[in-house]
């Protein structure tokens, strides 16, 4: 029991952080937002999956992947293919020259369903593919790169190139993928209309539950010996190798896990937003995901969620008010984070928030002298910070 408390939940600190986040997602936001805004928050929270995955691979693993959008997109496309097939029943598509295939295929003179679309008629297969397709791609990239000891900026550039390649591929193969418009007009899941308000509420809660689950899973990985090994590898890769570990296997593992987590976000994105397009796959969204993680704090799983929420809220607010300024603001924000608070919001909290909290506490508890309290708190922050993450 105690091991679960410490490892999975991250001790007292971790439980409080997680409880606050859960309360915000499940109670506060649904209470104060109408369904349109709540659906937007749900969309932001799907990006939080990618941000959490970047904490694992970038924050702890020290591997900057500029291609998380690829995995997010693949997860999203897998889900979209299933929903599109359901929306393209022969009755719904009777006016097409070939009824029963997705509309964009008909527009592109396809007369039968391509072979790789066939399995997506099955929902269990789709759920499997949402994790397996991105996981397999990550495994192949991982083996090709890490076994050859490609790392650092070279790895980042290659992941970025893969993001560009996949976008071009999707856009170019319009008949097979829906092209630049993506896969649109998604309606039902097993006959359940996903466009209604009640469905949107339910999907929002499922999304929130999955996100909390992913954070718990990530905590489990990071609090195991593998988590410490990731930090060790980031610090002194050679030393780990000369302690008898095959470093590349650990990098491949964490890269695959990160890919699958991003893919879950992508699948939930498709369900909540109702379409998937190449604009969520390429270089720009991949870099935005890095910014979410950086703003939230790349060493903090919970911080990454707040980062995704805040940056996306800012993006929506500013792009509604000053659309042409938004990209500059985003760039400026990233530079500011890197220069002035490299550990993001979580780092700011560690530095100032805790001290303020302790002060408030010690004011309430009159008998204990406040100075002593803060000192004690200051001493164990570094160890606690790592545990709490």
């Amino acid at each position: 029991m105690k091991a679960i408390y410490n490892n999975l939940l991250g001790g007292r600190q971790g439980v409080i952080g997680l409880a606050l986040l859960a309360a915000l997602i499940f109670l506060v936001l649904p209470m104060f937002l109408d369904i349109f805004r709540l659906n937007l928050v749900g969309k932001y929270l799907t990006y939080a999956f990618a941000a959490v995955s970047l904490v694992l691979i970038w924050g702890y693993g020290g591997i900057l992947s500029l291609g998380q959008g690829v995995f997010f997109g693949l997860g999203g496309y897998c889900m979209a293919m299933f929903l599109k097939l359901e929306a393209s029943s022969p009755e719904n598509t009777a006016i097409q020259s070939t009824p029963g295939i997705p509309d964009f295929m008909d527009w592109n003179q396809l007369t039968q369903l391509p072979w790789f679309w066939e399995p997506f008629n099955s929902f269990p297969f789709t759920l499997f593919a949402i994790l397996a397709v991105p996981g397999l791609l990550a495994y192949i990239i991982g083996v090709a790169m890490f076994k050859r000891r490609v790392g650092g900026v070279y790895f980042s550039i290659i992941t970025q190139a893969i993001a560009a390649i996949l976008t071009i591929l999707i856009v170019g193969q319009q008949g097979l993928t829906g092209g630049i418009n993506g896969i649109t007009d998604l309606k039902t899941l097993h006959g359940w209309d996903i466009r209604t308000d009640s469905a949107k509420y339910l999907l929002y809660y499922i999304n929130g539950g999955l996100l909390i689950g992913v954070i718990l899973l990530s905590r489990f990985i990071l609090s195991s010996k593998l988590g410490r090994l990731l930090l060790a590898m980031r610090d002194k890769e050679d030393r780990v190798r000369f302690s008898g570990y095959d470093v590349s296997n650990f990098k491949i593992f964490i890269f695959c896990v990160a890919a699958m987590i991003s893919a879950m976000g992508g699948a939930m994105f498709t369900l909540q937003v109702g379409f998937m397009s190449p604009s969520f796959v390429g270089i720009v969204p991949s870099i935005e995901m890095v910014i979410f993680a950086a703003v939230g704090g790349r060493m903090s799983l919970i911080g990454a969620v707040y980062g995704a929420l805040i940056v996306n809220y800012g993006k929506t607010y500013f792009s509604e008010t000053f659309p042409e300024l938004w990209l500059f603001l985003m760039g400026g924000l990233f530079i500011a984070v890197v220069m002035f608070f490299p550990n993001g919001l979580a780092g700011l909290y560690e530095k100032h928030g805790k001290r303020i909290m302790e002060k408030i506490k010690s004011l309430r508890r009159k008998p204990t002298p406040p100075a002593e309290k803060t000192l004690a708190a200051g001493n164990d922050t570094s160890a606690a910070a790592r545990e709490a993450a």
């Binding site: 990985i221 195991s224 010996k225 593998l226 410490r228 090994l229 930090l231 060790a232 610090d235 002194k236 050679d238 030393r239 780990v240 190798r241 000369f242 302690s243 008898g244 570990y245 095959d246 470093v247 296997n249 650990f250 593992f253 570094s382 160890a383 790592r386």
Partner: protein
């Protein structure tokens, strides 16, 4: 290929060339069981390169390295470590973000694959071993300290401890007393004499006082080749050694 021998380590005709420059040139060297060998020589003699070749960090151009009659030149680094070869780097190479305890625990030779690391649990056996090694390297009271906060000498000891916990049959140390105070050097000499029981050790060192304290046999390298080999006295009185190295 060379035949089977009784030596722990048998290096034969080992050559490595970097763009035509032979850093190690047809080197032959044999290390006995339970021997403590010191390798000395001027800068650029190829001392560190020899260690790099043995532990697989650098690939040999030609020749063979046999550890207990097992060819090492074809193995990757982690396989060489698992075969029983430990290596300490010149600058202390430890995990600064982890505690002393965690540094040693990660180096403990068990569950070194992905699944093993995910399901790893601290057992009483591992705990006891970590404490035993920590006491041996004079860090018994500092187990919970972040390794980055240790002094330079303590970091050197910690790295030696990280090798000890693997219980290697061949231990290679690259300048273990560099940057240490006189007292720390004495402690380290003691430590080396203690830990060399029951295993072979190769040490690279410049400090001749320290070398006298520990060496069974000394090998002098010069321009990738062996210039002299023998007891400390023999080597110190060798004219060629005095000319290229000791005389300066």
């Amino acid at each position: 290929m060379s035949s089977a021998t009784d030596f722990t380590l048998a290096i034969e005709d080992l050559t490595v060339s970097f763009d035509g420059f032979k850093a190690v040139d047809s080197l032959n060297m044999y290390v006995d069981r339970n021997e403590l060998r010191v390798v000395i020589g001027p800068n650029g003699a190829g001392k560190t390169t020899v260690l790099d070749l043995i532990c697989g960090k650098t690939k040999a151009t030609a020749g063979s390295i046999k550890f207990k009659n097992k060819e090492l030149t074809e193995l990757s680094e982690h396989q060489i470590v698992r075969a029983g070869v430990g290596r300490k780097f010149q600058t202390p190479s430890i995990y600064e973000n982890l505690s002393v305890y965690e540094n040693l625990e990660i180096s403990y030779p068990a569950k070194r694959n992905v699944w093993g690391c995910l399901t790893f649990r601290r057992t009483a056996e591992i705990e006891a071993r970590v404490r035993e090694v920590a006491a041996e390297i004079f860090l018994g009271d500092l187990l919970s300290m972040e390794a980055g906060l240790l002094s330079h000498g303590q970091k050197q000891w910690l790295e030696i401890g990280m090798l000890l916990i693997q219980d290697p049959e061949l231990l290679m140390l690259d300048e273990p007393v560099a940057g240490m105070s006189v007292k720390e050097r004495e402690q380290t000499a003691d430590l080396l004499n203690r830990i060399s029981q029951g295993r072979s050790v190769i040490v690279i060192e410049h400090d001749m006082e320290f070398v006298k304290n520990i060496a069974h046999k000394v090998t002098v390298l010069h321009q990738g080749k062996i210039l002299a080999e023998g007891s400390m006295d023999q080597v110190q009185n060798d004219e060629r050694v005095i000319e290229v190295y000791l005389g300066h």
